[in-house]
Amino acid sequence: MAEATQAYEVGRHPELPPPRSEVGVLGWLKHNLFSSPFNVVLTLLVVWFLWTVIPPLFEWMVLNSVWTADTRKECWARMAVPEDGACWAFIKGRIQLFIYGFYPHPLRWRVNLSFVLLVLAIVPVLYDKLPGRKYALWYAAAFPFIAGWLLVGGFGLTPVDTDQFGGILLTLIIGVTGISFSLPIGILLALGRRSTMLVPRVLCVLFIEFIRGVPLITLLFVAATMLNYFLPPGTVFDLLVRVLIMVTLFSAAYIAEVVRGGLQAIPRGQFEAADSLGLTYFQAHLTIVLPQALKISIPGIVNTFIGLYKDTTLVLIIGMLDPLGIGRASLADPVWLGLAREVYIFVALFFFICCFSMSRYSLYLERKLHTGHNY
C-alpha cells in the first residue's frame, strides 16, 4: 500500500503547522469543553444551570431594581410587580453608615484621606516595577502610624473615640492591620519553631499550638472582657487595639505553620551553598531561604489572609459594627423591614470583591515569581 505522505529527504523534513482542529478557538473548545463524553455532559449541565440562574438574578438585581425611595412600601410601589426587584434605595440611603460607621460627620474627610493614603501605600507593596519604589516602601511602612493618627486624632486633631468606628472602615482597619503585622510575626514564629535553640523553639511551638487550638471568638471575648482583669486597674487599653492584637496573633499562628511548610521544602543544599559562600544566618534567610519559602507558601498565606479578612465580621459579637453588623442593625429599622436579601447580598458582594482581588493577586504573584524551577 502506498503511503499518502509526501517523501522528504531524511534530515530535511520541514516544520509543518499543526492540524487546524488543534489550534485557535476550535482547538480550545475541543480541548477544554468537549474533550470527552463526560466533559460534554458537564459542559451542557453548566450551560443549562447558568441559563436558569443568571437571567432572573440579573432582572432582580439590575432591571427591576429601585434606587430612590424613602420606605420599603414606596420602594415596592415603584416596581411593576412588588418584591420583584432589589430595593437598593435602602442600601443607598445608608451607604455612609456602611462606610464610616458612626464616625463624626464633620471629620469624615480624615477617613477619606486615610483611604486614599492606603491605596498609595498598597500600590508600591504590590507592584515592584514602580520607579522610586524604595521611598514608596518607606512611606508604606509609615502608613499605619499616619492613618492611626488621622483616624484617632490627638496631636492637633480632634480626638475620635474608636467605638465610633464602624462599617467598611472597621473592616479595613482590622483587615489591613492583621494582614500587615501577622506576616512578619508569622515568619518569625516559623523560624523560631525551626530553630536549633531549645527555648525559642519551645516558646514558639507553645504559642502556635495554643492560638491555633482556640476559636477566634474566644480570643475576642478574652480581648473584650478578661484582658482588663489582667491589667492594672485604671489602665486604658482601647478595645479596638485589643481586638487588633488578638486578630493579628491568631492569623500569625496560621501564617507560621504555612511558612514552616514552605521552609521545609527548601533543600538542605541551599543552606549549605549559602554557608559555604560565607552568608550569615540572617543574610541567608533574607536573600535565599525566605524568598523561596514564601514563594511556595503564597497560596497558603493568601488563604490565611482571606480567612482573616472574613473573620473580621466576628467582632460584631463583642459589639463592634462592621458592615455585617451595620446591615443587621439596619434590618431592625421598622420602615425598611424585610429587606434582608439586599443587605446580605450587598455585604457579601463587598467581601467577595476584596477576597477575590486577593486571590487574583496571589495568582499573578505566583506566575511572576516562577523561574522555571520546581522542587
Binding site: G269, D275, L277, G278, K295, T371, H373
Partner: protein, 259 residues
C-alpha cells in the same frame, strides 16, 4: 597512616601548607564515618579523592569548610584552626570554595545574581562592581550569554559552570569539588571538566572528589583512595593507576575502569 612524605609533594613545591588534617575523626551518631584522617595539602596541589560510595569522601571535604563538624583531631586551613569559634569558621569559608554534585544554585536568582549575591552581602561591594566581577567569572566559564537566565532555564553542564563561577568569584585560595560531574548527562561532562582543567592550569589549589580517571591522570598531583572512612592509599596518578598497592584499591579500580 601519616603522609609526612606524601608522594605527590614534589620537591619543586614550596612548603606552604594550605590544609593540614591530623588525626581527624567523625561520627554520625554511632556510625564512625571518618577514621584517623591525616592529610596535608600544599599550595597549588591538585588532589583527586576517589573511593566507593559511602566511604566518607563527601564528609571529608565537607569537614574542611565546616559543613560537617569533626569531633576529634585538628584541621588547620591556611594557618587558621577550625574550631567552633565562628570567626575562624568565617575566615576559613572565605578561603575555601566548594562545588556540589547537585549544583545548589539559587533557583530564584539569575545566573548573574547567583554570582553577585555573596559579593554584595559578604564582601559588601556596590552592586555595579559586584556584577562586573560576576560577569568576568561567567566569561571565564564560557557562559557570559546566560547571565540573565534562571538556573531552571540552563542545562546541567551550564548550571554546574555557574556554580563553579559562583565559588570562584569569592576569590578562594582553595577549591573543593564534590563529584561535580556525577549528576550530568554524558555529553555535558566535558564542558565542566574543561573548566576545571583550566582552573588547575591557573595554579589553584584543588581537592576534587571524582571518578573521572581521565581528569585525575591529566591534572592531579596526587590521587587518594578512601574506603570505610579511611585513607587507604595515596600516590601520584601514574603509580596509583599502574601499581595500586592495596587489594581494595585494585578491586575498586577494576570496577570503575571496567565500564
Amino acid at each position: 597512616m601519616s603522609d609526612v612524605a606524601s608522594p605527590g609533594s614534589k620537591p619543586g613545591f614550596s612548603s606552604d601548607v594550605m590544609i593540614q588534617m591530623t588525626g581527624v575523626h567523625k561520627w554520625f551518631g554511632e556510625f564512625h564515618v571518618l577514621k584517623d584522617i591525616n592529610l596535608t595539602v600544599h599550595k597549588g596541589e591538585r588532589i583527586v579523592i576517589c573511593g566507593p560510595s559511602g566511604s566518607g569522601k563527601s564528609t571529608l571535604i565537607r569537614c574542611i569548610n565546616r559543613l560537617e563538624e569533626h569531633q576529634k583531631g585538628r584541621i588547620v586551613v591556611d594557618g587558621t584552626e577550625l574550631t567552633s569559634d565562628l570567626k575562624h569558621i568565617d575566615t576559613i569559608r572565605r578561603e575555601v570554595g566548594i562545588v556540589f554534585q547537585q549544583f545548589n544554585l539559587f533557583p530564584h536568582l539569575t545566573a548573574l545574581e547567583n554570582l553577585s549575591l555573596a559579593l554584595i552581602w559578604v564582601r559588601k561591594m556596590p552592586k555595579a562592581k559586584a556584577e562586573e566581577i560576576a560577569m568576568n567569572y561567567l566569561d571565564r566559564v564560557h557562559i557570559p550569554e546566560q547571565a540573565q537566565k534562571y538556573p531552571g532555564q540552563l542545562s546541567g553542564g551550564q548550571q554546574q559552570r555557574v556554580a563553579i563561577a559562583r565559588s570562584l568569584c569569592m576569590n578562594p585560595k582553595i577549591m573543593m569539588f564534590d563529584e561535580p560531574t556525577s549528576a550530568l548527562d554524558p555529553e555535558m561532562i566535558k564542558e565542566v571538566l574543561d573548566v576545571m582543567v583550566e582552573l588547575a592550569e591557573s595554579g589553584m589549589t584543588m581537592i576534587v572528589v571524582t571518578h573521572e580517571m581521565g581528569f585525575a591522570t591529566a591534572v592531579a598531583n596526587r590521587v587518594i583512595f578512601m574506603d570505610f572512612g579511611e585513607i587507604i592509599e595515596q600516590n601520584d596518578p601514574h603509580n596509583f593507576f599502574e601499581n595500586p598497592k592495596s587489594d581494595r584499591t585494585k578491586l575498586f579500580l577494576s570496577q570503575i575502569l571496567h565500564h
